[in-house]
């Protein structure tokens, strides 16, 4: 009944949940900077929420260290569908300066399908904004897929 509105609102109000997989906090500060007055992510409806159950977009920063790997997987599993994963900074993509260290457990791609990867050692807030908006668009697509799948089940 409200499918068009639900599809549109998946794009218009994506909520973020930030997971720090062992990052040096450089990217964390940038992610928070996105919601400040200058860049104002709230214009597009982005809001940082406290619990993975409320989240649509999961922002992961930092090379996946040994300690944070299980916690990362567990929290990601607890986010309801449809969800997107955005990796901020180059650490999740390649381990950056920490590559080859005993404490690093490979790129984020090993554990989760990263929808949008924002590269850069502390990428600029504009880049993060662009990445988040791209993730919101993917969210809308995923939402559309679920609806088709749900209709498919009822249809058949």
């Amino acid at each position: 009944m409200f499918d068009k509105l639900i599809k549109k609102s998946a794009l218009k109000s994506p909520w973020l949940f930030h997971i720090n997989a062992g990052s040096c906090n450089g990217c964390d500060i940038e992610v928070v900077a996105v919601t400040t007055t200058l860049y104002d992510a709230e214009r597009f409806g982005f809001k940082i929420v406290g619990s993975p159950r409320h989240a649509d977009i999961v922002v992961v920063s930092g090379p996946v260290t040994l300690q944070s790997r299980d916690r990362l997987i567990r929290t990601l599993a607890q986010v309801p569908e449809p969800k997107c994963v955005v990796s901020v900074g180059s650490c999740p993509q390649s381990g950056n300066v920490f590559k080859g260290s005993y404490a690093i457990d490979g790129p984020l791609e090993k554990y989760v399908h990263v929808d949008v990867a924002v590269a850069g050692c502390t990428p600029k807030p504009q880049a993060i904004m662009e990445g988040l908006y791209e993730a919101a668009r993917i969210l809308e697509e995923k939402r559309e897929m679920i609806r088709k799948a749900a209709k498919g089940v009822k249809g058949s």
Partner: protein, 316 residues
Amino acid sequence: MLILRYLFYVLIFPGALFTVLVGWLLAGLDRKVIARMQRRIGPPVLQPVYDFFKLVGKENIIPAQANRTAYKMAPFISFVSLSVIMLFIPIFGFTAVNGVADLIVILYLITIPGVALIVGGSSSGSPYGAVGISREMVTMMSYELPFVLALLAVAKKAGGDVLVFNLTDIGEWQVMNGCMAFHWSMIPAALAFLLVIPAEVGTQPFDVAEAETEICEGPLCEYSGAPLAVFKLSTHMKMCVMSALFTALFFGGIRTGYVVTDVILFLAICVLVTLVCITTVHAVTARLRIQHLFKFYWKYVSVLALISLALVWLGA
């Protein structure tokens, strides 16, 4: 015929639909004005609508340890009780259902959504939920004292020496001797009531129970999908109910002859009240700790309400 009229009242006009729309309007304006105060553009006014329908579209996960019936019922009870309260509050002379509830009954009906949130948080089985409901209950205990003092002051002012608890009679009294807020002895009670509204609704300085940073949304931690949408909606509806109650009690004397203009003027005052007491307080202050919140309400705000109660008892 009566059933149809009641059905219309409860579902459309002052009941569910009206409260939902006004709640969304107030919440949208609230976020927009706060953004404007921080010199940023801020979300569109329809943002609460988008939030609601996005959450409805999401998957609803029920934790394994949750007590299923209470977990599912809590958001319903909260939404339903809020939409029923709105019927008893007079909108400038037009009271949907008169003779069902007076001041004390409204006071208790407003605790039902709080209890529904508590039952929901506690039945979700999460430790964050436990800490959240403990803070929510202490918040309820703290704002109850000034709330009661303000209501009793209004009842005494409108009553003289005969007991007047009915909201419509208070409205009639205000029509004869001018709105309650214009009497100087009632100004402290109005101020106390204004300070109680953000705690009852749970916005920024007093949202110790749903603190995102510390206990990840407290009782709402485990909720996702449609129940979470209904809980967020009931918070917005609380904004509408509380500001409507304030307007009815302290600005009840305005009559413009037609119901339509009455309703529009009523909404304007409600928006004004919300902007004053929820938005500005939210933009200016940071979140309190729970014992400071308790001390704030039992010391400063209740003294404010007590002043006006004493003044009214001395015949002012």
